[in-house]
Amino acid sequence: MKVEVGVNGVAYERDVEPRTLLVYFLRKLGLTGTNVGCDTTSCGACTVLLDGESVKSCTVLAVQVDGRSITTIEGLADGEELHPMQRAFREHHGLQCGYCTPGMVMAAVSLVAENPDLDEHHVREGLEGNLCRCTGYHNIVAAVLDAAQSSREGAW
């Protein structure tokens, strides 16, 4: 069936099987930044923003988001300029192999947007649904707290 989905500000109309998961829909558009890391909605590597809120795109059907708006990692930067969250991840070495990173960054953006006053405890709990094997989370947490600070200062 036909669906029309806005992704990173661009409208896409596609014909999909109802069983097509949103993550595969996005990847087939060529937006391969969003990754699949598991099959039990556990790892969060597939996290994107649906109307600004983080969701696990592996557990959403493309047909469910007909007419709605998605932001993926590819849509986060403003042209050449990195989003403060992306910048913070780099500055704090919050990524190694990069596989969990797009989902982690999007989850973090949503987390801070909902509560810019969060502390370390909130960050760790807020990222409970995003698994990383490389970093041990330490630098990710530091990056998110840093980006939250810049949000409180009005940077985003």
Binding site: R19, T41, E74, R124, C132, R133
Partner: protein
């Protein structure tokens, strides 16, 4: 001012943070078919029949293959010395030997159709008794491989003695002079490596030339295997490891799933791709650890450790792979940081009807450290001595290096006492013990445990050389080709730093190429924490040679003596000493060098392995009513010699700590008694999240090694090796006043609660 030793941000990150990396699943492959493997749901069974007709009629299905279709030599043996009768077939041939064993390959136009088609392959199995318990496998009359005549894969030292590789060890009176001998059985449990990216492989043939993309840590090794298998010339095979989403040792060797993709592609004359699911990966990506350990430690009542014995049963799984050889590595590091002069070691690696074990972060060395660090704590408890003091009394002194241990391993350099002192100070050890005492006195429900470990490990343990090449380009920038194969370790930045350090060309102008066998002529890959001290040194030396060549060229051009040529790194120009106004740039030299170009290649073989070391303390809080363990502080002192980029080094320690802690606290790959995996997805398997961990307190220490010109040891596995026993010791320490002496890993709530109950005498 060298750039080395600075916290340089990674060049890799821009891509990962904006468009994402390009992993094997992302590689565009026009017209590719998709492969799904039909896998056995039985741990041990005879295949009576395989019905493929319905699958073949399923929409979009292009082919279905079973063992009888395969015209390919058997897989190369899983490990050296492996019993040939235990060789893994491409697809199960008559017998399936673990849940997940591949029975058929379904090939279709799309992944969806391949999955649908795979459901229509019907296999009729005749159940056989599975061998699941490794501890009884050696004597189990049921054989995993009938033709092998045994379930035993490797016995140490017996098999190495028979093979003439080593001598029979001299008899020792192991516990002579010991007032105290303690014994403990411990399990170093099977775990799942869980890289965030599962395995994937893609193949394309063009005019007899194969291009294979693979989630591998060792692309050149995969290439060698493919050349051999398909009887091709080396220039007919190209293997590419694009971005790889973590490996941790489990993605070193070529799995049949991956290599078979090339065969399918050639057979049906279309590009082909396979991407596993996470559940599939949990069952069939090589598992880690899997040792049952019986340890005995003897010493005097005033704390001098004299004799140590370790007996290991290693679970190798159904088709023995590197996992069968982990005890070799365990034995290498048997006595750890301690000066224990009498030892005994034996091991028996056995086949079972489970997924094969492979190398996993530490690969045999975490097992060694976990065993001895646990025993040292039990010994301390037995003689009533503080565990830090007992360790201090037995550490190899810093003046004794290079030090050869009782098992013949020669450690390069170390200062174990300083590591211990630093971690005790960083932790505030005395204050921690005081708080623990107060909680014990008040009978607090939440008790505090302080767990210590002092460790040493071996990196670059398998001899060999690594390739590195540096070339200066016409525009004055540089290009590195490295045989290492990073998948998160930051070599693109670190090797650029090594070149910047020698050539003055800035990091952003140094391109580093890796992972493509067409672009890099030879290489070993990245595992065993070897890359910096082999491939990094190769790059460093190649850079040095480029500078030497450049100086000679400048000398010719300026009619001077090469010894009088200086490189002004800041301005990237060469000049004669004393005549700074007449200079040559890198670009000018490249032009002047003509066809010869300005480059150098090095194959660097380190004279030996190196031995990073450290000391960790974990503070744990144990809820004695529920058995729940919470990790309050994780303090790590790790010495990996000279650090090239402390930012990257810390990241490696952090990742290692998380995995090591997770094994002690919650992760375990479980099979039931019928050989069914029961933790075969990320909801059931306790992959640790950020919510279970505190931030780490890491304290670097640098004792440069004399082994290589960079003074660098490996660091990738240290965090894992030191932290596992520190956590386990902390949990036991929290309960030792209740009479608990040991709790096996993972220290889950039910295990902790049961240990408390047992110690209290309630059954």
């Amino acid at each position: 001012m060298s750039i080395l030793g600075n916290r340089v941000l990674r060049k890799e990150d821009q891509k990962f943070l904006t468009t994402g990396g390009t992993y094997v699943e992302d590689v565009p492959l026009e017209g590719a078919v998709h492969i799904v493997y039909v896998r056995s749901p039985m741990a041990h069974a005879r295949i009576r029949s395989i019905e493929t007709s319905e699958a073949l009629e399923s929409p979009g299905v292009v082919a279905v293959f079973t063992a009888q279709d395969i015209d390919l030599d058997p897989m190369p043996p899983g490990a050296p010395f492996a019993n040939r009768a235990m060789t893994r077939p491409w697809l199960a041939d008559g017998v399936v030997r673990f849940v997940g064993d591949m029975v058929a390959a379904v090939v279709a136009d799309t992944r969806e159709r391949a999955v649908d088609g795979a459901e229509l392959v019907f296999v009729d199995y005749e159940t056989l008794t599975p061998v699941v318990d490794a501890s009884t496998a050696a004597d189990n009359p049921t054989l995993v491989h009938e033709d092998a005549g045994t379930n035993v894969v490797l016995r140490l030292p017996d098999d190495f003695v028979s093979a003439g590789i080593e001598q029979v060890a001299a008899e020792v009176d192991l516990f002579e002079g010991c007032d105290v001998v303690i014994r403990q059985r411990m399990v170093n449990q099977r775990v799942a490596p869980c890289p965030l990216e599962v395995r994937a492989s893609a193949a394309k043939w063009e005019d007899g030339h194969l291009t294979q993309w693979s989630t591998t840590q060792a692309p050149h090794s995969v290439k060698d295997t493919l050349v051999q298998l398909f009887e091709l010339q080396p220039d007919q095979v190209r293997v590419i490891a694009p971005d790889v989403g973590g490996g941790f040792g489990a993605k070193i060797g070529g799995y049949p799933e991956e290599l078979f993709v090339a065969w399918v592609s050639r057979r049906i004359d279309r590009p082909a791709r396979w991407v596993e699911t996470r559940s599939e990966s949990m069952m069939t990506l090589g598992h880690g650890r899997g040792q049952i350990q019986e340890a005995e430690l003897g010493g005097t009542r005033d704390g001098k450790l004299l004799g140590y014995k370790l007996t290991i049963t290693q679970d190798a799984g159904a088709y023995p792979n590197f996992g069968a050889f982990l005890p070799v590595m365990t034995r290498l590091m048997l006595t750890g940081v301690y000066d224990i002069t009498k030892t005994e070691f034996s091991s028996c690696s056995v086949a079972t009807n489970t997924n094969p074990t492979v190398a996993y972060r530490g690969a045999g060395r975490p097992e060694a450290t976990a065993a001895i660090e646990r025993m040292v704590d039990i010994f301390a408890d037995e003689i009533g001595m503080d565990p830090a003091e007992l360790r201090r009394k037995n550490l190899i002194g810093k003046e004794r290096f290079p030090f050869t241990t009782a098992v013949g391993t020669t450690y390069d350099i170390g200062d174990y006492e300083q590591a211990l002192d630093r971690v005790l100070e960083a932790a505030g050890y005395a204050e921690l013990r005081e708080e623990q005492r107060q909680r014990r006195d008040s009978g607090d429900t939440k008790q505090m445990g302080i767990g210590l470990s002092t460790y040493v490990e071996v990196t670059n343990g398998i001899p060999g050389s690594e390739f590195g090449a540096v070339e200066v380009l016409a525009d004055g920038k540089a290009r590195v080709r490295t045989g290492t194969s990073p998948h998160g370790q930051g070599h693109v930045t670190a090797w650029a730093m090594l070149v910047a350090d020698q050539l003055g060309i800035p990091v952003e102008d140094v391109e580093v190429i890796h992972g493509d066998t067409d672009e890099v002529p030879r290489g070993v890959g990245t595992f065993g924490s070897k890359s910096l001290q082999s491939g990094g040194v190769a790059v460093h030396q190649a850079a040095e040679r480029v500078v030497e060549k450049a100086k000679k060229l400048v000398a010719d051009l300026l009619e001077a003596n090469p010894n009088d040529i200086e490189l002004d790194k800041e301005n990237r120009r060469f000049h004669v000493a004393g005549t700074p106004s007449v200079t040559k740039s890198w670009a000018e030299l490249v032009e002047a060098s003509g066809d010869a170009g300005l480059s150098a290649e090095v194959d660097f073989a380190a004279p030996g392995p190196t031995f990073p070391f450290g000391a960790h303390i974990v503070v744990a809080e144990v809820d004695t009513e529920t058995g729940h363990v919470s990790l309050e502080r994780i303090i790590a002192v790790d010495d990996a010699g000279r650090l090239m980029n402390p930012l990257i080094a810390e990241g490696q320690v952090h990742g290692g700590l998380a995995q090591g802690v997770a094994q002690a606290l919650m992760e375990e790959m479980c099979y039931d008694d019928q050989g069914n995996p029961i933790t075969a997805n990320l909801a059931d398997y306790a992959f640790v999240s950020a919510a279970e961990l505190p931030s780490f307190e890491t304290h670097p220490m640098e004792t440069p090694t004399p082994i290589n010109p960079l003074g660098a040891k490996g660091i990738g596995e240290s965090g894992t090796i030191g932290s596992t026993p520190a956590v386990q010791n902390a949990v036991v320490d929290a309960l030792s006043h209740l009479g608990v002496r040991h709790v096996d890993m993972p220290t889950t709530p039910i295990r902790v609660w049961s240990a408390i109950k047992e110690a209290k005498g309630d059954r």
